[in-house]
Symmetry: C2
Subunit: 574 residues, 2 copies
């Protein structure tokens, strides 16, 4: 597949001539959407006319005839939607299954940060995701994970400095450096995070931010360092402070964090140019029940936002921010990514086109080939568990340990004192994090109050951000067996009782994603939740998602790590 520069120019010349001929009307277009009403993001209005497509690109609007003509009378044609920031892994399915889920919702481009898989597999995880997304009918673009591990307290599967990610900037689908969560390190001028920013800038790439509630001169320092966006704004004041300093605001409405209602006033003439939409993470049931960017758009319009502004924010602004200059608009030269809806009021998606190909019609998805991942990477992704077989003794510990006090509906915890044994009657359970990347045999043990389990154990290998195995149990033996079962499965979620598995959600890709379809994964997940509830887990708790944040040593107050219980406030082990 080697091609000289002159050969490349010749090839592009031929393709361009076909585009020009179709645009000028000398040749029939491949596809014409006849009599369309379409949103024009440049003149900020609804325009009317035929939309002609050739070679996967829009070639003109006006009067055209085509090999295929589809009457669009009475419909509204929109550009395809973009998610400006998501961790694809949060869907728990592989990228092909993710695409099957979101394409019917009108998403045609997503910007993913493979932060989760990189914490497990390092640069191999980035490469795996690049290969697993190649040629999909939703364009998947990448921001390179900036914080692997997320904190020095984490024992992750890899440590990536700027050199480790540098060569990925040359990949045509890499747009920049993903959310720089280590804003403290940036403001302090620490080598590692600042090197990552200057390297991204040296490659002329974008750098996304993540700095909740940062204000004043510290915010200036973070932005002056080169951080161009933020998706953590949860109130208008925070958002405007960042916007007026030049950051682009990604209005986030995902599964864990939902900021649209607070930020919908940004969708006005004064501010909307600097805004886009993102989800950050979307769990299976949320994707299936609500949708994706379309859900955010519907909600924004229902909250009073102007529909044309909303469309522009959902399509055009993110495309421009990421320098994806041929998408996010209906105009000559732009990708023929279309979403056909009935009206802004009902926002029923009737058709979705990707590069001029009809991919979705009334919810029915056209077939497409799954990308090929090199065998060594597939094998590497499916064998990420490296730990010994554990027994009850590994979880037995007579010294007093800190108790994580759960807060209903939150992922923060309180400091609930100390305990030295499981006490089911008082809802004191044992919680442990088992290092599983490098066979270090590190097991951090603590206690948790408020989870409600009365018997057995619940374990998961989704455990932010290092994705070690986290397990809660009423019995050390069940804890050990549940962890062993997860290792056998090469990852997943297990509900275990008295020596037996009650429910399992296998997540054999790096221990965080399934090879099965979204609907199957969701069914297994919901089934497993029911089993966990039956074992006593409080109905107000998400049995797995809540657990998956208990090992993230950046959220107050107490967390459990592979090295024991950690107090985030005092930054010390307790």
């Amino acid at each position: 597949m080697s091609e000289s520069y002159a050969g490349k120019i010749n090839r592009k010349l031929l393709k361009k001539r076909r585009i020009i001929n179709a645009a000028a009307g000398r040749e029939k277009a491949d596809l014409v959407l006849k009599n369309a009403a379409y949103v024009n993001v440049f003149s900020n209005e609804i325009c009317h006319g035929d939309i002609a497509v050739a070679e996967g690109l829009i070639v003109g609007m006006g009067t055209y005839s085509g090999e295929t003509e589809v009457d669009m009378a009475g419909k509204i044609v929109l550009p395809g939607f973009l998610d400006a920031h998501i961790h694809l892994e949060s869907s728990l399915v592989n990228p092909t299954e993710f695409v099957k889920a979101v394409l019917p919702h009108g998403t045609t481009t997503v910007i993913t940060d493979p932060h989760e898989i990189a914490n497990v597999m390092g640069s191999d995880g980035i490469e795996y995701m690049l290969q697993a997304t190649e040629g999909l009918p939703v364009d998947v673009r990448f921001m390179l994970p900036s914080c692997v591990p997320a904190t020095p307290l984490d024992e992750s599967g890899a440590t990536l400095d700027y050199r480790a990610i540098d060569s990925f900037y040359d990949h045509p689908r890499v747009q920049g450096l993903a959310e720089m969560m280590n804003f403290v390190g940036i403001i302090a001028g620490d080598d590692q995070p600042v090197e990552k920013i200057v390297a991204a800038q040296a490659h002329h790439k974008k750098i996304d931010g993540h700095a909740p509630d940062l204000v004043g001169n510290d915010l200036n320092a973070y932005i002056a360092a080169g951080v161009y966006s933020d998706h953590e704004c949860h109130d208008l004041k925070d958002a405007i402070a960042k916007l007026e300093r030049g950051q682009f605001i990604m209005i986030r409405e995902g599964t864990a964090a939902r900021n649209l209602e607070a930020l919908v006033p940004l969708l006005c003439d004064k501010y909307s140019e600097r805004c886009m939409f993102c989800t950050d993470d979307k769990h299976p049931s949320d994707l299936l029940e609500k949708g994706h960017i379309d859900y955010i758009m519907k909600k924004a319009i229902a909250l009073g936002a102007d529909p044309i502004t909303t469309v522009k924010v959902a399509c055009h602004n993110a495309a421009r921010y990421f320098l994806l200059n041929n998408r996010g608009a209906i105009a000559p030269g732009y990708l023929a990514d279309f979403v056909v809806i009935d009206s802004f009021e009902h926002f029923h998606i009737e058709k979705v086109y990707k590069r001029g190909k009809l991919m979705v019609e009334e919810g029915i998805l056209a077939d497409f080939p799954a990308p090929k991942v090199e065998p060594y990477l597939t094998e590497r992704a499916h064998s990420t568990f490296h730990l010994p077989i554990l027994t009850a003794e590994d979880f037995t510990e007579s010294r007093p340990r800190g108790v994580l006090g759960m807060v209903m509906g939150e992922i923060t915890t309180t400091d609930a004192g100390y305990a030295d044994h499981i006490d089911v009657e008082n809802d004191i359970l044992k919680i442990a994090v088992v290092e599983r990347h490098k066979n270090t045999r590190h097991i951090g043990i603590g206690y948790i109050k408020g989870y409600g389990l009365r018997s057995g154990a619940v374990a998961t290998s989704i455990s932010h951000d290092s994705h070690n195995i986290i397990v809660v149990g009423a019995s050390e033996a069940d804890m050990a067996q549940a962890v062993n079962r997860i290792a056998e499965l090469d990852g997943g979620i297990v509900v275990w009782n008295e020596g037996k598995s009650l429910a399992e959600v296998p997540l054999a890709i790096a221990g965080i994603m399934s090879d099965e379809p979204l609907v199957t994964v969701n069914a297994k997940l919901e089934g497993a939740k029911e089993e966990a509830f039956r074992l006593g887990v409080s109905r107000g708790v998400d049995p797995f998602m809540t657990l998956s944040f208990m090992a993230l040593p950046v959220i107050p107050t107490l967390r459990v790590t592979t090295r024991g219980v950690f107090d985030v406030i005092s930054q010390s082990y307790v």
Copy 2:
């Protein structure tokens, strides 16, 4: 000056740390503009606070102290202005002198198309301009000339295909491909112009347009080919047709073409995001008397445009279009390019800062070093005339030739019939174009009516777009001597009578630019005009500018080329 990648990252890290430290307030800033009111192009309002600068960049707005502090109370601070499209050569001075002229007017970045010098010197002309603009206190960025020669009818100094300009795309100050004037060739899908577009796209570069009054599917074809902007719109309808198809509109207000009044309605919420300002060409007296982008801004505001919108169009929009993402705004990380004015009403420019350095104070310019141009290029630029010494016989011609009918105040001509001799009483003068690049001895002869000369000859080596020598005379002997004198001068403008030079404007850089200061050039030019008027040239005619368009065989009706009189309408020699 070789540096490893790791070395480069380390160097940038140190600089970045200084920026962060100053932004966070841990170290004093280099410069603080205290108590500033400044235009915020993100929140579209006037903000207030100190503006802190370090390492030539804005590091923060808020409360800061600095090594230098300047009180800005009562002033308005604006980002530096950008000219989105100019041919620097039109100023008739070298880039250093141009910078001295425009920096006091608040211009801190210009995008130049070295179309004129490239038509004389080919790629050496581009290289000369790159070297002659390196490190100037107005950042000069380049769009590569797309049409050299401008038409196949021209005998220019060079012919540049896509290969000839390709390596320039790697230069850090090259932003793309300049105005693709050959819209007919693009719409026809001709190899040469379309190759240039696909090559520019292969380098991920911008492509500017030039397509007056192009409409409908032809306009679609031109835009679908990859032309992202237009600066030729002279009415609102034309501009909106292009804007709504995705082109950016450069509102042009220069010396020859002035479109602001017609296009000022674009400066509104609905359209302004897609607009910027440009001058295209600025002649010496116009620069001296009116100014530059500041003149356009003042006029726009006087015509009723919102001042903040006007500032944004003059600074931010062009910067974003050209992917110059660290300029055109007052925000952390942006270049410390400031224009300090008293008020929007008076728009008196009190100070201009470039990268944090005070360059202009009350019209007084700070010293700066002129860029060094390699000697071989300087020599090459100063020896571009290759023609024999001419005599009256070379201009003697008894056959009848077409008469170019001048139209007062226009550069179009009428077909004024034939003539076979000079007839001063009836204002029939001889006009000739002398090929001067390649010693071809081609001399195209015709007649002109309406110029008014009664004796002697007027000649200039500014003759669009090939810059051969164009000469008008009442006597063949004076014509020959005037041309000889221009060759002796290595280029310029000469007013000649009865064997003697009456006035000269030497333009020894490629025959189109002077080595002298703008004021000197302007004085010589105005003096020469007076001499021309004294020889009878009609006062309503610009004696030299009008001539300089008479050899451009794209403007109706008759033109004179090195091959004779050409009818642009019938596309044939007459």
